[in-house]
Amino acid sequence: MSGSVDAAAVVAAVQRVGVELVAQEAYLTALDQQMGDGDLGITLSKIGRALQGFAATTPVEGDIGKWLGKAGMAANRAGSSSFGTLLATALMRAGKVAAGKTELGGEDLAAMFAAADAGVQERGKAQPGDKTVIDALHPAAEAFAAAIASGQSLQEAGRAALAAAEAGRDSVTPLRSKVGRASWVGERTEGKVDAGCEAFVVMLRCLVNPSG
C-alpha cells in the first residue's frame, strides 16, 4: 500500500509548482540564455501564474483528470514555447489517464507519469540522448513506476523519481544538444546543463519536497 492523494492535494500541488515556477524565473532565464533564446524562465513564470490562477478559481468537481486537462490548456494559453507546450501536453495526457477519478493511488500516478512521458515524446519527437527534458522525464517516470511496483510509498517513489531525473539531467550535460534551439549552438552546448531538464527537476523537487 503506497498511499494516495485526493483532489485537494492535487490542487495544492499545482499551486505549489505554480509558485515555484514564478520564483525560479531569473534562474531558468539565465540557463536558457546560455544556449537558447532566454525565454524559458519567462514562459514558465507566466505558466506558473496561470496555474495559480486556474487552481484558485477552478473547482475540481469530482474529476481530477478533467481538471488537469483544463490546467494544461490554461498553461498552453499562457506560454507556448517548446517547454511550455510540452508541459501543457504532459498535463493534458496525464489528465486523460486520470479521467473520472477523485483520488489517485500510486498506480494511477505512475500511469499518469508514463502518459505524460509518452505525450512529450510524441509531441516533441525527440529521442533519449538528444539532450532535452526527456532525458530527465523518462528515467523519472520509470523510476517512479518501479518504486511503486516494488511497494514503496508515494514519498519514497517521488524521491526515487527525483534522483533519477537529476541523474538523467547530469548524464546529458556533457553531450551536444541535438534538438530545438540549443542544437543550433553546436559544440558550445557541451558541458552546459539543459535548461529544460533543470526546469523539470525544479518542478519535481517542489512536488516531492513541499518545503523546498
Binding site: G38, G41, T43, G124, W184, V185
Partner: protein, 335 residues
C-alpha cells in the same frame, strides 16, 4: 536595458495596438485577441488562405506581411515565444475562404508543436490545413541534416511566392508547391555584431566583445555557431555568400533574387556595402541579379548584424516574385 517601452509585459500588446491603429485599412484581428492578426478583408472567399505565426521581436516578420498578395493571417506570440495553438486556430478559422489554409512558418520547436496542435483542431472543423516549414539557414545544420535547419529571412520570399500563387487563384496544392519550390531554391546565412534583449528578461541573451562577431546567429538572440574577430565588410560578405553558394550550388547563367537583410540596428548604408560585394561575387560567377531587396525584412529587435538570402528563380518564381503585393511593410507594384 535601454528600450522605449512601458511595462515589459505590455510590450507586445501595446505594439499590436499601435499597429492596428496605424493600419486599420489593411489589418484587423480575430475575436477580441490582438495576437490574432488578419487581413482587414478576411476571409477572401474562394482563395487559398496563408497563415504564419511565431514570436514577436522580428518586425516586419511575421505580421508585417499580412496583406494583399502575401499572407492572410498571423498568430503573434510574446517576444521570441510561440503563440498558442488556440490562437493559431482562431486565425485559421477567421481567414479560411473555403479553399484550405497553408501554414508557412519557421522551424522552431514551440511553433511546430503548436501549429501541429492547431492543424489537428482545424481538421476537426473540416478545414484542410497544409504545412510548409521554412528551414533556410545554412548555418544551423549541415546539408545532410537540412531538416534540422531553422527558418530565417528567406521566409519572406516564401510568403511572397506562395502569396502570389494564391492571389492568382492557385489551388491548395499549387500554393503549397509554390512555397516549397521557393524554399527549395533559397538559402540564408547571417552574422550578428551585437546581442538583443528580451524586454521581460531585461538583459542581453548573449554578450559579444567589441571586436567580435557571431557567425550564423539565430534571429532570436540565441548564440550562433561560432565566435570570431570582426572582419571587413567584404570578407564578412564573402563568408556568408560562400556558405550559401556552396549549399545552393547555382550555376553560371542562373538568375538570383538577393535579399540583404538588416537585423535591426545595422544602418542601411552598411547593408548596401554588403550588397555591393554580393553583387560583384555573383557577376564574377556569371550569375545575374533578378531582383534586389536591401533593408530590414526579418529582425531581432535591436540586434546589429545582417543576413544574405539568395533565391534561384526560373520563369515561374520570377513571375511570382514580380506579382504586386501590398502589406504594411511590403509594397510592390509592377514596374
Amino acid at each position: 536595458m535601454k528600450k522605449i517601452l512601458n511595462q515589459p509585459a505590455d510590450f507586445v500588446p501595446e505594439m499590436l495596438d499601435g499597429l492596428l491603429k496605424a493600419h486599420p485599412d489593411m489589418l484587423s484581428h480575430a475575436g477580441d485577441d490582438l495576437h490574432c492578426i488578419v487581413r482587414a478583408d478576411a476571409p477572401v472567399m474562394g482563395k487559398v488562405a496563408l497563415a504564419t505565426g511565431g514570436g514577436s521581436g522580428h518586425l516586419p516578420v511575421f505580421l508585417g506581411y499580412v496583406g494583399k498578395g502575401m499572407l492572410d493571417g498571423c498568430a503573434v506570440g510574446d517576444v521570441f515565444a510561440s503563440p498558442s495553438a488556440e490562437q493559431m486556430l482562431a486565425v485559421t478559422q477567421r481567414i479560411h475562404g473555403g479553399k484550405g489554409v497553408v501554414y508557412i512558418y519557421g522551424n522552431y520547436g514551440g511553433d511546430v508543436m503548436n501549429f501541429d496542435m492547431a492543424a489537428e483542431m482545424a481538421a476537426l472543423e473540416d478545414i484542410e490545413v497544409r504545412t510548409v516549414l521554412v528551414r533556410d539557414d545554412v548555418a544551423s545544420a549541415p546539408p545532410e541534416e537540412a531538416h534540422r535547419r531553422r527558418g530565417v529571412a528567406g521566409m519572406v520570399f516564401a510568403f511572397k511566392c506562395a502569396g502570389a500563387k494564391a492571389d492568382m487563384g492557385g489551388s491548395l496544392d499549387e500554393v503549397v508547391a509554390a512555397a516549397e519550390k521557393a524554399l527549395a531554391n533559397l538559402r540564408t546565412m547571417g552574422v550578428a555584431l551585437s546581442p538583443c534583449t528580451v524586454p521581460r528578461a531585461g538583459k542581453p541573451t548573449f554578450t559579444i566583445g567589441e571586436d567580435e562577431m557571431e557567425i550564423g546567429m539565430g534571429i532570436h538572440g540565441e548564440p550562433g555557431m561560432k565566435r570570431e574577430k570582426l572582419q571587413p565588410a567584404d570578407q564578412i560578405t564573402e563568408r556568408m555568400m560562400t556558405a550559401i553558394l556552396d549549399d545552393l550550388k547555382p550555376q553560371a547563367g542562373d538568375r538570383l533574387a538577393v535579399m540583404v537583410n538588416g537585423l535591426g540596428a545595422t544602418p542601411l548604408e552598411e547593408l548596401y556595402i554588403i550588397y555591393r560585394k554580393a553583387h560583384m561575387m555573383l557577376s564574377e560567377r556569371g550569375m545575374s541579379v533578378y531582383r534586389a531587396y536591401v533593408g530590414e525584412y526579418a529582425t531581432s529587435m535591436e540586434m546589429a548584424g545582417a543576413s544574405i538570402t539568395l533565391m534561384r528563380v526560373d520563369d515561374e518564381l520570377a513571375a511570382l516574385l514580380d506579382h504586386p503585393a501590398q502589406t504594411p511593410f511590403f509594397v510592390q507594384v509592377k514596374l
